[in-house]
């Protein structure tokens, strides 16, 4: 069981949260008509064995989106915050 610290509600069980997406993907600008950037955004992912920044949602709590830095090899969570938070200068 993972214990996830919601920046708004405090530490809560993993079952209250739902994983959303990789926190490093960026939607291309609305006026970017090129297909390549949209394709990369929608489909392509980086395989990260180790810490990665993710967006989770506190679905069964405050409902807010949060950012979580979690190790994909050990499931250890080293930082949580709001989606705008920058953990030591961005994702590894």
């Amino acid at each position: 069981m993972m214990l996830i610290t919601c920046p708004h509600c405090g530490p809560r069980a993993q079952t209250e949260f739902s994983y959303q997406d990789d926190a490093t993907t960026r939607r291309p600008a609305i006026d970017d008509a090129g297909q390549a950037a949209h394709f990369e955004y929608v489909y392509q992912r980086d395989p990260r064995r180790g810490p990665q920044d993710e967006i989770w949602r506190h679905t069964a709590g405050c409902g807010k989106f949060i950012k979580v830095r979690r190790d994909t090899l050990t499931h250890e969570i080293t930082a949580t915050g709001t989606p705008q938070d920058d953990f030591d200068g961005g994702a590894p």
Binding site: M1, M2, A13, Q14, T15, S18, Y19, D22, Q35, F39, E40, V42, Y43, Q44, R45, D46, P47, R48, R49, Q52, E54, W56, R70, T72, L73, T74, H75
Partner: protein, 418 residues
């Protein structure tokens, strides 16, 4: 290779079964091969077998970082079926099913294929319609499918809670009678023995650490047991396709996710088929040892850890008990986890790439086991001819760019939703 038969069994019985020959060699890797296959699971070994058998290419190495079938080949719930409705999937999986039907004879190795049937339960009117439609797609393609109403389901699987006030009321189910289960380890061992007999080198405890590319062409791999040159390099791994492709400089439409499965203590025969439910996501069958083998949803977050968390075990057990209340007193004996490439449309990728001589077989989500023979068959064709077989022509990498995705669940570009 010693052929296994009643005679060889009798002969070895006379010497107390102490003189059986090794089923395959354990050679050190040679400096160069025509084809290096990365991954010694079912798919990789089947590919090597069919490269030799169908295409006469025997200067092949299968490189495995652990032991044969120690990845998802030995971790799945052994279900075999071909009940797919999307063009591209339907005939591919049926080809695989046909290979399953003759596999023990072909390999001279008992893979214990048991055509006990696979029943998908329908819990809503929408599911009834969609399952009947799927059954029609299957039958029009020459695949066996039978729709059962609630009474027929009750008669077929008496332990199911078919009452009207059940949490997931059972409206009916789609049965594929030829579906069933196979002994997963035996599949890896049978293909390994078959490939080895053709001269394929199976190299275990050898991890690939890099892919050598020269002038847009794959020329070999770096491994923990030294560099190996190869005219063609082909991946056949579960969960780490994205990672391997990154070594080749490619970004993939894949996420690696975690799935758990579990078995109960062994009991006398009580389910003689495979029952699955998409609404209460679970699938269950009984092993030959008597254990109930079951699993359910992914963990839903990306992971490379081959172990899951307790909430999912609880959730899967709840779903099983909702449908089979009589299993409530059984104790859970073992749980385990495996990691898999979840593709962005839920369908596999079997293709050549923009890098000459570099081939990808991955993105099996959690349905790779049933595809093992067919996957090896078409992948061997793709590698040998540098062009896809008609049955894997749709499993391209380009489909994500062109929009020709094969989204069996209609779930969209969300890896964990498939």
């Amino acid at each position: 290779m010693t052929r296994y038969s009643i005679l060889s069994l009798a002969r070895n019985a006379l010497t107390g079964h102490r003189n059986w020959p090794q089923a395959w060699r354990s050679p050190a890797p040679k400096p160069a091969y025509d084809v290096v296959i990365i991954g010694g699971g079912g798919h990789g070994l089947a590919t090597a077998y069919y490269l030799a058998k169908n295409h006469g290419i025997t200067n092949v190495a299968v490189i495995e970082k652990g032991w044969l079938g120690g990845g998802n080949t030995g971790r799945n719930t052994t279900i075999v079926r071909s009940n797919y409705a999307q063009p591209g999937n339907t005939l591919f999986y049926e080809h695989s099913m046909k290979l399953w039907e003759g596999l023990s004879q072909d390999l001279n190795f008992n893979v214990m294929m048991s055509h006990r049937g696979v029943l998908n339960l329908a819990h809503s009117d929408g599911q009834v319609d969609s399952f009947q439609r799927r059954g029609n797609v299957m039958r029009i393609n020459g695949i066996d499918a039978e729709y059962l109403n609630r009474d027929e389901v009750r008669a077929f699987v008496p332990l199911l809670d078919c009452s009207l006030d059940a949490r997931f009321p059972i409206k009916g189910g789609l049965l594929q009678p030829r579906g069933g289960t196979a002994r997963h380890d035996a599949v890896a061992w049978g293909y390994a023995r078959g490939a080895d007999a053709y001269g394929v080198d199976i190299v275990q405890n050898c991890e690939v650490t890099g892919i050598d590319i020269l002038g847009g062409r794959a020329v070999g791999v770096q491994t923990t047991r030294g560099a190996i040159k190869a005219a063609k390099v082909a991946t056949a791994v579960a969960g780490h396709t994205g990672h391997l492709c990154e070594m080749a400089g490619m970004r993939m439409p894949l996420e690696t996710h975690l799935l758990q499965a579990m078995v109960s203590e062994p009991v006398k025969p009580c389910i003689d088929t495979v029952v699955t439910s998409g609404a209460a996501h679970m699938y269950i069958s009984q092993s030959d040892k008597g254990e109930l083998v079951f699993g359910g949803d992914l963990e839903f977050y990306p992971s490379y850890a081959q172990r899951g968390n307790f909430p999912r075990i609880e959730d899967v057990a709840q779903n099983v008990l909702t449908l089979f209340p009589s299993f409530g007193r059984l104790r859970l004996m073992r749980t385990w986890g495996g990691v898999m490439d979840m593709s962005m449309d839920g369908s596999p990728i079997i293709t050549k790439t923009d890098i000459q001589g570099f081939y990808i077989n991955g993105g099996w989500c959690y349905g790779g086991f049933k595809a093992t023979p067919g996957s090896g068959w078409v992948y061997a064709h793709t590698i040998a001819n540098d062009s896809p077989h008609e049955l894997n022509a749709a499993f391209t990498l380009k489909r994500f760019e062109t929009g020709a995705v094969i989204d069996e669940h209609g779930a969209g570009a969300k890896a964990q939703a498939h």
